[in-house]
Amino acid sequence: MIEPVQTGAPLDMNAPDTVWMLVATALVLLMTPALGFFYGGLVRAKNALNTMMMSFAALAVAGIVWALLGYSLAFAEGTGFIGGTTHALLRGVGLETRGTIPHLLFMAYQGTFAIITAALISGAIVERKRFGAYLIFVALWTLAVYAPVAHWVWGGGWLARLGVLDYAGGTVVHVNAGVAALTAAILIRPRKDYARQALLPHNVPYVLLGAALLWFGWFGFNGGSALGVNRGAVLAFVNTMLAPAATLLVWMLIDLARTRRTTAVGAATGIVVGLVAITPAAGFVPPMSAMAIGALAAFPSYFGILWRSRTALDDSLDVVAAHGLGGATGALLTGVFATAAAGGTDGLLAGNPRQVLIQALGIAAAMVYSGVATALLLKLIGLAIPLRSHGRDEAIGMDITQHGEEAYTHGEGAVLLAQSTVTPHQETRP
């Protein structure tokens, strides 16, 4: 533990920046299990584990794929479209600094983004997607879709050069995941019971727990995107507190106006939408604008969800409305509210309407690429193995059929198997 070798080692890194990025990385990593609870509470009990496992598995699959190759594709020198393979297998990614923090930490921090982006998509295809196909999808999608889009905006790619503003991933993460979710929901088709039966959340407290931990982790997501403890970090952090508060307030008011009741599932959704919307703008707008963005962003997502659930599109947990629409709204409003003084480029309100167009271009580019590439990937995987379960298995539930487990068991009727070699209790004198 007390290791003179290390403590004595030359500290080229900036120490406070590094502390903050360590904390931010841990916070963002926590967001993926948090998402598992957010999503897991929204499905039926018989699919709770499967839904949570989609997030937990992303930690393994996207995490490893990122370290081995994805990071390099996103952040190594390359073309305007994709990075190179210089950093594959973490070559050249060590404790020397990138910016003011160790390169390795930068890689890890970016990895947590790749993980959660892949996990976000799962909300569109829960309660029916086969788990094996999902794992393969996550691996390929991280490399073929996430890494390039991240490169475009944050790796010095063509959107960065165009001047697209995306502080912490409105476009790279949320629009990208939202469009992939839309594509997957269409290709994988609705659940057998969709629009015939009421498919209700089995545990709303889990949804609230997930939302709370997402908010907590999001301080690292937005605040850490400053890559150090600087003015941008503080601004992004505080905006990440204020914007979702505003969205939550407006969401509750719309709920009240429409049904005379505020819902808890709505509150959890409102928090997430607010977090999504402020993500692209976090370090570019002053706090009062952040509240405005939060408040405005409630509307498209709220009514998007209402509208979607009347269509045949079984985007089961409304990834499109919450992340796709929320991210796009945030990205556009970044072009409206950003100011050079706050740390961005001047936007519409500061007299630069062009920025809104640039933002729209960024969104459109991510949409087209993510939609097409996701569809191709799914078709490809679908050639090799079936993407979704049989109707029969869907009725039984994915936990039993995909994982051989139940989230909540009692033990009645469970008979031990293959335990013939076990000596029962009375003989076990040590």
Binding site: L200, P201, T263, V265, T269, L306, D318
Partner: protein, 119 residues
């Protein structure tokens, strides 16, 4: 021997229990069920999904009694479970052919009479 099955409101369950104890009914089994009757349906909303909830939470009592105990038992339930509003529930009296007490092997009357000493 009869088996009395009663469906009551959960809010009244503890009062029913006490009324039964006062009526010297000592053995009974209870479960949580959901019922549909004349009650107003509830509307609930989960994101875009609005549902009509057809079922209300109820508590089900199941009480094996000897014949002369039927009347007092039914009366105890009727008085303690009634609120006067729709949804108070129902009582069914079913014939029973045999009862066994598992512990002692006693049957019928003996099986539902509390054992003073052991109880």
């Amino acid at each position: 021997m009869k088996l009395i099955v009663a469906i009551v409101r959960p809010e009244q369950a503890n009062e029913v229990l006490e009324a039964l104890f006062r009526a010297e009914v000592r053995g009974l089994t209870v479960s949580r069920v959901q019922g549909h009757g004349g009650e107003l349906e509830r509307v609930e909303t989960y994101r875009g999904t609005t549902v009509k909830m057809e079922l209300q939470d109820k508590v089900r009592f199941e009480i094996g009694v000897s014949n002369h105990f039927v009347e007092p038992t039914v009366r105890a339930i009727m008085s303690s479970a009634r609120t006067g509003e729709v949804g108070d529930g129902k009582i069914f009296v079913l014939p029973v052919e045999r009862v066994h007490r598992i512990r002692t092997g006693e049957t019928d009357e003996g099986a539902v009479t509390p054992l003073a000493d052991s109880g």
